[in-house]
């Protein structure tokens, strides 16, 4: 089966959760024998590290100022911005030449660009439409854009032959939108690749708790809400390692600078690290922290934390879509920031130190998580 997928970020070097999910879908689909072509239409300012192939479909430089205009959103207004530009025509021509069996939208933003062609083009109208949702977008977007997002998302949900959601909660919402008699939304939660510890030594001396996240602002919000300004939960000699794009959001914050000297001793801001370094960080961490307090969908950092079999200390929203994991050994879920800090302290001091068995967490691997979607390529969509 030939699948053409569209998204608004490259996946050549997947960093944030959305990129990782799309990369995993691509890998799993290809592994199942499908031809999977992913076309990213994205801003090279936000994602400067696309591959040469990916850069061919990036938003042209002259449009970037308008894309990043404060009156617009880089996702919601993306299709509107490039409509009428030669890039849009090129994308359509290319899609027509490819003649896919399935056109899949990773998040709904690029759908308006193809909506008409998918309805009327002799080649493209034969393709099945899959909406691969990562969240209920209109529920998370700023209220001033909610109506526009809801209309766009609702249209795609209604039109798609198959809707994929990351959690049962999201699926229930989409099913309600689709109404009775339509194919039920398929749930393919987020996951992670099986841990590959490698031989790298511990990137930090002494015990540490790890928090990793992209520069997505809610990651910083979660950090401050969950850890607070003073890391009282860290015994002297230990550290909180902060990895990923969120690091800069944290260190540039007044709340970090306010206790700069203390943070210099107890917080290790690592920034964006290579995959091998991240693997080593996860492997040697005493605790993996999930300070997630807002956002929708399910978090693939949660799957990753669970699969590494380290003690996990999480705020409850991090367990969305992974509710059953709370019963597992070494998974500590907090309802309040104070509880989060106390649990983390107990893990750092060894008061709590349970771990999970490999077979227990195998279900969180991408292979298992995405299997309903991959199976549907071979069955319901034919």
């Amino acid at each position: 089966m030939k699948i053409a997928a569209f998204g608004h970020y490259p996946i050549h070097r997947p960093l944030h959760g959305g990129q990782r999910r799309v990369a995993a879908i691509a890998a799993e689909a290809r592994r199942a024998g499908h031809a999977f072509r992913y076309v990213p239409v994205y801003s090279t300012r936000g994602y400067p590290d696309g591959s040469p192939d990916e850069r061919l479909t990036a938003v042209p430089e002259p449009l970037l100022d308008r894309l990043h205009d404060l009156r617009r959103r880089e996702d919601l207004h993306l299709a509107q911005l490039i409509e009428g530009h030669p890039l849009a025509r090129h994308l359509l021509d290319d899609l027509r030449r490819y003649a896919p069996d399935v056109v899949q939208f990773e998040q709904p933003w690029l759908y308006p660009l193809f909506a008409r062609a998918l309805a009327s083009d002799p080649v493209l109208s034969r393709a099945r439409i899959v909406y691969s949702a990562h969240n209920v977008e209109s529920a998370l977007i700023d209220p001033c854009w909610q109506a526009t997002a809801r209309a766009l998302e609702g249209e795609l949900v209604a039109r798609a032959d198959l809707v994929i959601a990351v959690s049962a909660a999201d699926a229930a919402i989409f099913d309600e939108w689709r109404g009775a008699g339509r194919a039920r939304t398929l749930v393919a939660p987020n996951g992670c690749w099986p841990p590959a510890p490698g031989e790298d030594p511990a990137p930090l001396a002494g015990p540490y708790a790890l928090v990793a996240g992209s520069a997505h602002p809610p990651n910083a919000t979660g950090y401050w809400t969950s850890f607070g300004e003073i890391p009282g939960f860290l015994p002297p000699g230990s550290k909180l390692a902060v990895a990923g794009g969120m690091t800069h959001l944290i260190t540039a914050d007044d709340r970090f600078r306010r206790y700069e000297r203390m943070n210099a001793e107890f917080v290790a801001p690592l920034g964006v690290v290579e995959e091998s370094c991240l693997a080593a960080l996860l492997h040697h961490a005493r605790a993996i922290c999930l300070p997630i307090t807002e956002g929708g969908g399910t978090n693939l950092k949660t799957a990753e934390a669970l699969m590494w079999r380290k003690p996990v200390v999480a705020m409850r929203p991090a367990l969305r879509g992974f509710e059953e994991a709370e019963a597992m050994e070494g998974v500590y879920v907090a309802d309040t920031p104070e509880e989060f800090r106390n649990l983390l302290r107990d893990v750092m001091t060894g008061v709590r130190r349970a771990t999970r068995r490999a077979e227990e967490v195998a279900r969180y691997g991408w292979h298992a998580r995405l299997s309903p979607l991959i199976a549907s390529y071979g069955s319901s969509l034919q």
């Binding site: 015990p207 890391p231 000297r261 203390m262 492997h283 005493r286 302290r345 060894g350």
Partner: protein, 516 residues
């Protein structure tokens, strides 16, 4: 019979600030020492922390009183040669310096602390025979030489350090007499460590923490407030950065905590609970409020007369505000209050006397005050150099006192004013309400009209003033003897309890063990 192990009392703060008058923390540290010396006698060992050697050092008995209680053994700046009359004479001196230092050092490899100290003394003496300009001349020559022999860079640095020490009389100071190998504390002989000073100003808290883990020391801290955390924006800039980490280490390894008030106790417990520190048993934190009788002696009419003549004040006709001049004390508010009082009641407002050393971040306010043409001349008097005797007279003779601080751990000026039977208007900061014990009059800082009305009434309405004095007279102050008794008894009880119980496991995190 087995000997009882030593109780260390860390007097580093008193030692470091031995040139200061014993106010605030220094006063508390002194009183804690007295409390424990009375109770534990020879078992108590006064120590200082020496950062360069990362160790605690016993203060020898012969030096103790003079160094800690009598502002003694200050460095004496020695005389230094003036520059020679001609340049070639200056070079002759430099030559002589080089020859003498080389001659005295020849054949003697420097080994050990004692030998190093002797050699430093010799070079220091010779350095004082060069003027500052001649030293600079020699240094410039050495720097040129360094281009050819880069290895001499370290020697130049060492010489600079020695020149600084010699210039300011810091060679062979009392510090060298204390920090000898004989005075270094053997960890195994210690059972308890008591800190009542500014433990955040160096690494003493880290060493104490390590000793607790490695040698089972029990740590006991007297905490004065959480200002650098709760009111960090108004705290002394260095303390603001050093205190949070110091408190962190303390909270991860402490056996007994005393606080100066219930407010500080509550703030500390809340801080520990909020940020995930090891749980503090509320019974582990005991408020032991300070005494306030230090500044209460007999009136001396001659002194009184002299003070008021010199200060151009009329007894009974001024209002007093005591405290370091810094933003947290809210001098800004009181200044605006006095300005408005003068505006509303011209000619009826008593002078306001600010007593306190200038602190940090206060210069813009003082500058504004000096340039304020809308405030009558001397409406606010600033007295930064008041001794204890004089302060006592000022308390005795003021009309009433005022203390509008944003936040305090305790309110010593409040209890001192009330102790002298003077009405005291305070802000509604919790510690001030607590210290005032119902005898002071707290007013919220947003109740500007009430401040104005009460200040005016206390200056002009005798009935209102009489009622305020009657309220102040209800105050039952504590004395330092009570403080010493309570603190000593509590430590004794803690020592008794410690004999029976091991160091709590929760306070010994196994952070060195790698879980991976």
């Amino acid at each position: 019979m087995m000997m009882d192990k030593t109780i260390l009392i860390d007097l580093s703060t008193s030692y470091q600030f031995r040139h200061w008058k014993p106010m605030g923390i220094l006063r508390v540290e002194h009183e804690v020492y007295r409390a424990l010396a009375d109770r534990f006698g020879a078992r108590l060992c006064p120590v200082i922390y020496e950062e360069a050697r990362d160790g605690f050092y016993r203060i020898p008995e012969a030096l103790f009183e003079e160094v800690i209680f009598r502002n003694g053994r200050q460095p004496v700046v020695p005389e230094r040669a003036c520059t020679a009359r001609s340049r070639w004479r200056s070079w002759m001196r430099v030559g002589r310096f080089v020859l003498r230092v080389c001659a005295r050092g020849r054949g003697r490899a420097v080994r050990g602390e004692e030998a190093r100290s002797r050699r430093e003394a010799v070079i220091g003496t010779e350095l004082l025979r060069l003027s500052v300009a001649e030293y600079a001349m020699m240094r410039r020559a050495l720097v040129r030489l360094e281009r050819v022999f880069p290895r001499i860079a370290a020697s130049i640095q060492g010489l600079d350090a020695l020149n600084h020490k010699a210039h300011f009389g810091l060679l062979r100071t009392v510090h060298d007499e204390i920090c000898t190998p004989e005075n270094r504390i053997e960890p195994d002989r210690v059972a308890h460590y008591v800190s009542a000073g500014g433990f955040w100003s160096d690494d003493r808290y880290r060493l104490a923490h390590r000793m607790r883990g490695a040698h089972g020391w029990r740590l006991h801290y007297y905490i004065h407030d959480l200002i650098p955390i709760l009111w960090g924006h108004l705290a002394e800039p260095t303390t603001r950065t050093t205190y949070p980490a110091a408190l962190h280490w303390m909270l991860w390894g402490v056996d007994r905590i005393w606080t100066n008030s219930e407010t500080t106790r509550r703030d500390l417990l809340a801080h520990a609970a909020r940020h995930g520190y090891p749980p503090l048993d509320p019974a582990q934190v005991l408020p032991v409020p300070l005494g306030a009788d230090a500044a209460r002696g007999r009136a001396d009419p001659a002194m009184r007369q002299g003070i008021f003549a010199r200060r151009n004040l009329v007894p009974g006709r001024f209002v007093l505000m005591v405290g370091t001049q810094e933003p947290r004390k809210n001098y800004d508010f009181v200044y605006r209050l006095w300005r408005e009082l003068h505006h509303r009641h011209p000619g009826q407002v008593m002078p306001l006397v600010w007593v306190g050393q200038p602190g940090w971040s206060i210069a813009p306010l003082l500058e504004m005050l000096r340039n304020d043409a809308g405030l009558p001349h001397e409406a606010i008097r600033i007295l930064p150099d008041v001794e204890d005797d004089e302060l006592e007279e000022l308390y005795r003779a003021c009309r009433f006192s005022i203390y509008a601080s944003h936040y305090e751990g305790w309110g010593l000026p409040v209890v001192e004013a009330l102790g002298h039977g003077k009405p005291c208007l305070t802000s509604d900061a919790p510690a001030l309400i607590e210290a005032g014990a119902g005898a002071a009059e707290p007013i919220g800082l947003f109740e500007g009209e009430r401040w104005l009305e009460r200040c005016h009434a206390l200056m002009s309405d005798e009935a209102a003033y009489g009622a305020a004095c009657a309220r102040a007279a209800r105050f039952e102050g504590r004395n330092w003897a009570t403080f010493r008794e309570e603190l000593g008894a509590d430590l004794e009880a803690a020592i008794g309890a410690a004999r029976a119980a091991p160091v709590p496991e929760s306070a010994q995190p196994s952070v060195q063990e790698d879980a991976a």
